[in-house]
Amino acid sequence: MRVGIEVGGTFTDLVAVDRGEVRVIKVPSTPRSPDIGAFNALGAAGIPAETVTDLVHGSTVATNAILERRGADIAFIATRGFRDILFMQRHDRRRIYDLHYAKPAPPVRRRDCFEVAERIGADGTVIQPLDEVEVARELLPALAAGGYRAVAICLLSAYASPAHEMRLKEMIAAALPGLTIAASHEVAPEFREFERASTTALSAYVQPVIDGYLARFEATLAEAGFRGHFSVMQSNGGRMPAAAMRRNAISALLSGPAAGVVGAIRQAARSGRGNLVTFDMGGTSTDVSLVQDGEAALAAETEVDGLPIRTPVLDIVTVGAGGGSLIWIDDGGMLRVGPRSAGAEPGPACYGRGGTQPTVTDAHVVRGTIRPDAFLGGGMSLDADAAHRAFEDVARRLGTDIRGAAAAAIRLAVANIVRAMQLVSTERGRDPRDYALLPFGGAGPLLAAEIAEELGIREILVPPNPGVISALGLLSADYVKVRGATRRLALDEGTPAVIAADCARLRAATEAEFAELGLTGPLEPSLELDMRFIGQAFEIPVTVDPGMLGGLSAADLAERFAEEHRRVYLHGGEPGRKVELVGLRFGLRRRLDALPEVRERAAELARPATAEVVTGGATVQARLADAATLGIGEVVQGPALIEGYSSTTWVPPGWSGARDAAGNMLLRKEG
């Protein structure tokens, strides 16, 4: 049996697959010890641990350790003169009119930052040797006295030559065995010292936390008789065995949204769709990403709580528009949706837990797209009157009725999500009309058609059980390791050979790691080259098939880059502009067997034939259908609501929906 467990802020989701049968379970999360919720889910599903052959886990443990500043006590070591890197940051303010601005707090106190005498140049040559005598005399005793759990090392130009960091690490390891040591050349070997230092410090900060958490998880599993593979989701959209994650915790950050995108990609692939705009709409926010030819784009950098993290992550844009987002009118009379949310408590007004401000979920109740009797498969009854009452003030101030106000709020929520989609598509030179829309999360399929209308998208793919796609993504994630390197050189005839040599080196290192972890079988390589015009500071990644490198000239590479630059910036490649390579990311992927088909979970619910829905300024009778019993090829004409256990799909007039052979529901715009 294969099991995926995704721990979210509110719910812990479990997906189990056994000989073609799929089970889906949702239990409340246990934020203090997320592993308890995970084992509760196993228990609720009635799955004995010894029957699980493959367990994949995604959690917010690493992210929360940073958000709540509950990581390990760490020390930070820099080149002499630069111990304040983490406090200087980039000297800018994120909010330019905030007079009371504070920089994001680094994970280390200034008193725990140390310096060593050494300097390496941009070309990797030693300008000043590492003063080992001083290290032994001053640094090592200070580290011993500090009682640290982990140490982060970030020396200038370590991306160009790791020699001093390696030696320093060796000295510390010898003097203080058992201390976790994160060295920047291993964590993020790329130039720009603040971003590299931040990544390294955060890695040291979360590593003992992740290590402890996974150790406890493994011990509990072992006690219960588990003998299968245990792996953990990464932010790059792949998984790695837990043993590897305990050594490299940084890639566990933000793995939840990545799992969702992977689940969406796998599910769409069954229907033969590889070009997707995915969106995961939850309670407080919506995550949006663009998938090209079955691959989600990687971003080289992300941030948590304002602190930069230089590690390949799936390129996901988050917007503060979820089901719980509050609807309000500001002091200039403008209607607003979010970013503040009603959260789980009190939640939307219709939850009847004391919420009085209207939310997007309340707007759905008022306009009829959420039926109070059918929420969570009928498992939770909603207070429609409370939803109506909540809109009274907004309606009065807009000079409309309650239904008009709710319709206005829905249109604005749609517009907010559309803007996030334009960020990942239009602003990157991609036309959203060339993509299918793939909604998931509880609230996604309710808005998908209206979002598609705004973007000119004519096809929507709604997966079965849209509320648990993230857990499904865990199960279907491949083993993936991506390594980055800085390699700065102006493109010339020798460049492809240099790239090939770097790829061979990174491949050997990754293969060795895979072998050590027992990951055998065929490996698929991938390569992204970061390039820019000489003089620019920001690179654009260009994807290249590593197998085709031999046939590419420097001019080919330059043209591929210029094409990407024109796509994004509408200019580039003016005469005389030379191109340089700045860095590259080489990945290896060990694919997993295909998953069996997933079916919609049935809900035991009696429903009338139709229900009233307000749409386009009119009230229509929408047909009600059961997502679980909708047969393959059976067409549902809009207006219709197709209700499932974890989510409802709204099919507006002019659209139709049909279950396809792969189990997905395909919505099409007619005409």
Binding site: F82, R93, Y97, L99, N416
Partner: protein, 550 residues
């Protein structure tokens, strides 16, 4: 044209998003460190009359004045006379501009043959010719500061893309690869703005887009007026000082009276000292930005879009011939320093009207720091803009080591400098202990950076301030530390003034030290735990901790 509230909300957010996208792409496709790393540029969308509708929030100093700077261009080239491919350019401080290095590009947005607005971008250019690379501290008039571009109408096909204007620019700048690349980035940002507004017009109709442009300005005006109405009526006075004029005469005083009357504010700088002979004069467009930026930050919510509507409730006046409204052809390159004192003076007035919203003075000085060297490959010019410690507020310590309120430049990574410049190396970049002003809340710490010079005949040029003066505290708070710049040459230490050019030798180490911010409230009220924390973290030393407690 009546807009329904939802379409208005959607369209206005789309217009703001387009301006933001312009800003992001301006920075990300730029070539010079001053634009790509320091992000010294801005972008905006204007309506058909040239009034600002939405801006990318990058540099406050550039934001208040894009609309006013457009007006001279409009007077000379009415929109009815523009054709597809035309664009307008200006940098002349005496035709409404800021300083010569800030070059403004305006591209008309045509929809169905009608100009419905303009896409605008401004970037600080690394070098625009003039008497010295990067910045000319010796300039005694604006001609010595670089190439002056009066309002001009140009055409992409005829004048750019190898045309005469482009070649004229290229011939007059010292680092053409970077400067010309930055101009291309500005044009590209504007093209994106034009495209996005045209897409909106195609989707929603021209009339609705035009109506949104007007409504968004009215919206900002409404919210500004609502915020101003909360401030007690009255006339409040403030003043602030610059050390000197760079020629040894000083201090130089900026005086302001801020009159709040209902929903409007008038800001009058009568009594300010006369203009100076050096580049510290502040053109009037910069003064408007400084005054409005301060009032907006102190009195209003940060989410009010900064556009022409936000300017309407505020009038700014300054005597002609004064430091803050100089006569042609006074040099203006370092106007950030005098503009910052105008900001300080307005904040001092605000502190009487709304004491809880005001903050103490920070170092609040733009230090434009330039190293240049003529090597075998041609000019190598490094320019970086530094802030210092921020002033403290009622509930917070001032931010350490950050750019000042009118600016928002990022630093250049040391590793980027190591790659790009062979004639110097950064050897230290550190917070300055004991540089914070005392107070219940302390001022932000200043910082220092040291550069080891690796070639003969390099030159350091910079302007700064508060080398003799200091950031004042508020309501009993103490002063921040002053700034300084020293050159270590062998065993000798040479102290430099706050506004100089100084020739360097191989082996020299130049250390620029930026000052701290002033404190807020009585030092005696600071919790002992915070003093102990700062002591352990080395932000303050034992002797300062002791003086705090006593």
């Amino acid at each position: 044209m009546q807009l329904d509230p939802v379409e208005y909300a959607i369209l206005s957010q789309s217009v703001i998003a387009a301006a933001r996208e312009m800003g992001v792409k301006l920075i990300r496709s730029a070539y010079s460190t001053i634009l790509r790393e320091a992000r010294d540029g801005s972008a905006a969308l204007l309506d058909a009359e040239g009034f600002t509708v939405a801006q990318a929030e990058l540099i406050p100093m550039q934001l208040g004045s894009i609309g006013p700077i457009f007006q001279p261009c409009k007077a000379m080239f009415p929109k009815e006379t523009l054709e597809e491919g035309d664009f307008l350019v200006i940098n002349d401080p005496y035709s409404g501009g800021q300083h010569l290095q800030d070059v403004f590009f305006f591209h008309p947005i045509f929809v169905e043959g009608e100009v419905i607005g303009f896409a605008a971008s401004v970037a600080h250019h690394l070098d625009l010719g003039g008497g010295a690379p990067g910045l000319n501290a010796a300039a005694r008039d604006v001609y010595a500061e670089g190439l002056i571009i009066p309002p001009m109408k140009l055409n992409m096909a005829r004048d750019w893309n190898g045309g005469g204007f482009q070649r004229l620019l290229r011939a007059n700048v010292r680092v053409p690869q970077q400067t010309m690349g930055d101009f291309d980035a500005q044009i590209a940002a504007n093209n994106i703005g034009v495209l996005r507004v045209q897409e909106l017009a195609a989707r929603y109709g021209k009339a609705k887009v035009k109506a949104t442009m007007a409504a968004l300005q009215d919206y900002s005006e409404r919210r500004m007026r609502a915020a101003i109405a909360q401030v007690p009526d009255g006339t409040y006075r403030g003043e602030a000082q610059m050390d000197d004029d760079g020629l040894g005469r000083g201090p130089i005083t900026v005086r302001v009276s801020v009159t709040v009357a209902g929903e409007a504010i008038s800001v009058d700088f009568a009594g300010t000292d006369p203009q100076v002979g050096t580049n510290l004069n502040c053109p009037f467009a910069s003064l408007i930005s400084a005054s409005v930026s301060c009032l907006k930050a102190a009195l209003t919510s940060p989410d009010i879009p900064f556009n022409d509507g936000a300017l309407r409730p505020i009038t700014v006046t300054a005597p002609k011939g004064s430091l803050l409204n100089p006569n042609h052809p006074a040099p203006v390159r370092a106007r950030m320093v005098s503009a910052s004192r105008a900001w300080n003076a307005v904040m001092m007035a605000v502190s009487q009207a709304a004491p809880e919203q005001a903050i103490a003075q920070g170092y609040d000085t733009t230090t434009a720091f330039c190293l240049s060297w003529l090597g075998p490959q041609g000019w190598s010019v490094y320019l970086e803009v530094y802030g210092g410690g921020y002033g403290a507020g009622i509930g917070n310590d001032g931010c350490d080591a950050v750019d000042n309120p009118l600016s928002n430049c990022s630093n250049t990574p040391v590793e980027a400098m190591d790659q790009d410049f062979s004639f110097f190396r950064v050897t230290e970049y550190a917070l300055r202990p004991d540089s914070s002003g005392l107070g219940a809340r302390r001022g932000g710490a200043g910082f220092s950076r040291s550069y080891e010079i690796l070639a003969e005949e390099a030159l350091v040029s910079y302007y700064s301030d508060r080398f003799t003066g200091a950031a004042s505290g508020l309501f009993g708070g103490g002063k921040g530390a002053s700034g300084r710049c020293e050159v270590r040459r062998g065993g000798e230490v040479i102290s430099l003034d706050s506004k100089v050019s100084f020739p360097l030798r191989r082996g020299d180490v130049v250390t620029i030290s930026l000052g701290g911010g002033g404190g807020y409230g009585s030092p005696a009220e600071r919790p002992a735990a915070l003093i102990a924390r700062d002591l352990e973290d080395g932000i303050i030393t034992r002797s300062l901790a002791d003086s705090w407690a006593s």
